[in-house]
Symmetry: C2
Subunit: 334 residues, 2 copies
DNA sequence: CGCCGGTATGGAAGCGATTCCACCCTAGCG
DNA sequence: CGCTAGGGTGGAATCGCTTCCATACCGGCG
């Protein structure tokens, strides 16, 4: 691999001049610039990112830490990040966290390991340490899907999301509405399921109704468990005519279970999901859409802005807009 | 950020000694090691990856170049890579290629840009340049889902996959078998669809039957187009009783279109997919399973082995095993 | 007791870029 | 015509690590 020295020698100039040419400094005469550029092209020289990073004191890497690709919603977020990072001069590195135990270590490594210019964290809780050590590092941090003090956050209003789903079902005339959600303590201590449930209940209570305990199920792992739960609900003497599922995956499971029992969706049963992952548009699932792709792209834009030295309010919390997308798994009661 | 100098000063030793401690060199006395380690722990020192890379002459990055996360099968492959890389001391960087035009540039950058210790390429064709310049770089290369001269490849036998699907349908008694595949020239010049089709036809011909031209559809973009195509096939005066789809996504679309028309699957129509992406197990799709996750993990293992200096046959081509997974979208004819 | 081999150690020389400082040269001014 | 200001340039110092070489120290052997 050619170095800047080789180019300098061959072009008969100093390394400083070559560096200036590479970095488009105006302090080079046109003739010199042309000569150097010619040599660069000729021998196919490419500056070493590594040496550049060391010299500059910061790398060209944006690290994403996420509970990884098992969940389609995370993948969609990641696509958002990638779409922005791709257009920048930064590289995207992926730190996946499959087990909750790993996450503190991975996070620490990403932030304080010196490898990252900026770090984007998705859906993970901050280890206590992060919050404290926060100031000891100048690495820009952005948090997605979780609120952390002193770090710009991109979140949604889960509570409102629950209300949105309930309202839609209520407006369709449903009075017997069930709920299938993630088990609250599952995996990384997510609380969004709880908040969605709370909003859901509140909206229903606002119409003078209530959600009977028997209509509420918490499941551990996506589709299969959701299907089982749906089966139980349908076996009830007075089964619900509508279901709010806190994720699209859960909704898929519920729909499958219903159809397997000859219960028509949306004829006999309406189902609302949450997320709007890519598949849901295809399948025609009615769902509370959260801007997953956008959460990724905006977090990357934020990181880039901080990297560029723009003043970003580190205490800011952006609530991304939620929207009920009505498709073909919900319909009027009876 | 503390440097190796700080540690050395504080521990009253030379930088060389600290370096030896960090790298577990045996040439350090136990007492010295303990003292240095204590200082390291105390001030929370972490060696700079960047400086290390520059000094060592190679980075700690494994780059994956892939037509990115739009396709669930690529995501599954990526998960395989991530699962292996995570356990190593390398970082995983993602170069996504959304448009075919980008791909040569991205590839070049990944391989010759000096940022990667090794590069894993998925599903992309090699630009002519790659093949030529091959020797000019010592960066280990692994290719997945495509055959490239002089580079270890992880592929499948698409032809055989097509036969597998046809055989299964034939064995179930079907005689009117349709085909829905990717448009051959689509996106990045994939040819696997053609090969699967060829194998499929061959197997059918082997039973003395033929695939009428009217039973064959090529679609551009996954589910929607597949659904349309399926609709056309079902509208035929003598519609097929079974379908081979060259991807699970296409199979989903076909099934949806069938059910929307009251055609029961597998009662009236059997559908075989190809890939076995995560969702397919949930949905109960019969499909030709290709080891997507494994293709990723093995490619990473290969890359790691080459990095470790193990002798890997660069002309090797590994054909990963294909397997027909029978679930609930295929059944006996009539 | 002196010497030798080997173990521990300190520190200088790289790795390949950036950047700052010193220097040269030329054009413009008095 | 001499001096200055400033654009263009070369090259040393620097970033934080690894590694090699020189040196120091130890015990055992002749």
């Amino acid at each position: 691999m050619a170095t800047i020295q080789d180019v300098a020698r061959r072009a008969g100039v100093g390394v400083g001049t070559v560096s200036r040419v590479i970095n488009n400094s105006p302090l080079v005469s046109d003739t010199t610039r042309a000569r150097v550029q010619a040599v660069i092209d000729e021998i196919g020289y490419r500056p070493s990112t590594v040496a550049r990073a060391l010299s500059l004191g910061h790398s060209s890497i944006i690290t994403v830490v996420a509970p990884f690709l098992t969940d389609p919603s995370v993948v969609l977020r990641l696509r958002g990040v990638a779409s922005v990072v791709r257009e920048s001069e930064y590289d995207l590195v992926l730190y996946d966290v499959e087990a909750p135990e790993q996450h503190a270590a991975r996070l620490d490594d990403a932030i304080y390991g010196g490898r990252s210019a900026a770090v984007i964290v998705m859906s993970l809780a901050a280890s206590g340490a992060i919050a404290q050590k926060r100031e000891s590092s100048k690495v820009p941090l952005v948090w997605v899907d979780r609120r952390i003090d002193g770090v710009p956050c991109l979140t949604i209003d889960d509570h409102e999301g629950g209300r949105l789903a309930a309202r839609h079902l209520l407006e369709l005339g449903h009075r017997h509405i069930g709920f299938i959600g993630d088990r609250p303590d599952e995996r990384f201590g997510f609380t969004s399921g709880d908040d969605r449930f709370a909003g859901f209940c509140e909206e229903i209570a606002a119409s003078g109704l209530a959600v009977p305990g028997g209509y509420v199920r918490r499941v551990a792992h996506g589709m299969e468990d959701a299907a089982t739960a749906m089966g139980e609900l349908l076996a009830l003497p007075d089964p619900p005519t509508a279901i709010f599922a806190t994720s699209d995956l859960i909704a898929y499971g519920a729909i499958e279970a219903a159809r397997a029992r000859g219960v028509r969706v949306p004829g006999d049963l309406s189902v609302v999901g949450f997320d709007d992952i890519a598949m849901s548009a295809h399948i025609g699932l009615t769902t509370v859409r959260q801007p997953l792709f956008e959460s990724g792209s905006r977090s990357a834009e934020l990181a880039l802005a901080m990297l560029a030295g723009d003043d970003v309010d580190t205490t800011a919390e952006w609530d991304l807009p939620l929207e009920l997308v009505e498709r073909s798994t919900t319909g009027p009661h009876r």
